[in-house]
């Protein structure tokens, strides 16, 4: 789960990395050694949230967005 949260945090903070996730989530999952369950969350709910973020997320908003999307990922993972 930590790896998925790491991806979320990077993707919120950095638009370039976000693009890599948005258009290559399977590749990112492979490189970060995500489990199948984590990869499914990444390519589903997380991707949907990331695609709706502003470009870029303003620095003051980054922690809140990271926490919000991480919570969504955790909730799905432990459901």
């Amino acid at each position: 789960m930590d790896k998925l949260i790491d991806i979320v945090n990077r993707a919120v903070a950095d638009y370039g990395f976000r693009q890599a996730v948005l258009y290559g989530s399977a590749e990112i999952a492979r490189r970060w050694l995500l489990t199948d369950a984590e990869a499914a969350i990444l390519s589903g709910a997380v991707l949907s949230e990331l695609s709706a973020l502003p470009i870029p997320v303003q620095p003051a908003d980054i922690p809140a967005q990271q926490a919000r999307i991480s919570d969504i990922a955790r909730t799905l993972f432990f459901a």
Partner: protein
């Protein structure tokens, strides 16, 4: 002037947004048939709509340029669709901001190199035979001022763009004699989603405009103008060159 690419067929990677999109639009206006190549399908579709193209004059292909099979298929589909290949613009790239070198993650280094360097290599590898089969062509690689200056916001990106500049020189030394001109451009800051996204805040973006000698960063259509010239027969004696296009930014910094 129009028709500067009349009867030519072009592939533009990274055509879904920013500089790549502006190039697709400009090429289309100049009479080229254009294959918009990108992983961002929604963006590529939007580019097609902005080009006001018909199915006879433009199409799109979903491609990950770091995947040899898909790159080869992209070239095959283009030739199959439009009959030939005359121009390749290597515009697809990723820019991930990083901390200083010691703290750069290996995975970010690999990801950047595979897209920005290997991707350009693969596109050239499969496009060049298609061009020489028809008498030649023109390749324009989009590098960056990051590949020339020691700019410290992304070590992998800067090194990857320096690699593109050098790949251009080596490839030109090998294929100019076979009729394929290969050139490179190194844009400075350009107002694109990628640049806005890689600039930490709106305030910093405004600051980049204010500190530039022209009072602004470049526009994507201004970059497309240079790419158009290099792609066209007007640049018939140009190969192996790298053109800085930064509105005088580097000159002022020096």
């Amino acid at each position: 002037m129009t028709g500067r690419l009349e009867d030519k067929v072009a592939i533009v990677t990274g055509g879904a947004s920013g500089i790549g999109r502006a190039i697709c639009q400009r090429f289309s206006r100049e009479g080229a048939r254009v294959m918009v190549a990108d992983r961002n399908i929604a963006g590529a579709e939007e580019t097609l709509s902005l080009m006001d193209a018909t199915p006879d004059t433009a199409d799109m292909v979903d491609v990950d340029i770091s995947d040899a099979f898909r790159v080869e298929r992209m070239v095959q589909e283009t030739v199959s669709r439009f009959g030939r290949l005359d121009v390749l613009v290597n515009g697809a790239a990723i820019l991930i901001r990083t901390p200083p070198l010691v703290d750069v993650d290996e995975v970010i280094w690999d990801l950047t190199m595979e897209t920005n360097v290997k991707g350009v290599f693969l596109c050239c590898k499969y496009a060049i035979p298609a061009m020489t089969a028809n008498g030649g062509g023109s390749i324009v690689n989009i590098a960056s001022m990051s590949g020339i200056r020691g700019i410290g916001y992304s070590v992998p990106y800067a090194v990857s763009k320096a690699g593109v500049i050098h790949l251009t020189k080596v490839a030109a030394s090998e294929y100019t004699s076979k009729g394929v001109r290969i050139n490179c451009i190194a844009p400075g800051g350009v107002d694109t989603p990628q640049m806005r996204g890689s600039t930490a805040s709106a305030e910093m973006f405004s600051e980049r405009n204010e500190t530039h000698p022209m009072g602004r960063v470049g526009r994507a259509d201004e970059i497309a103008n240079l790419v158009l010239w290099l792609a066209s027969d007007e640049a018939s004696y140009v190969s192996g060159s790298t053109y800085i296009i930064d509105g005088g930014g580097w000159a002022a910094a020096n």
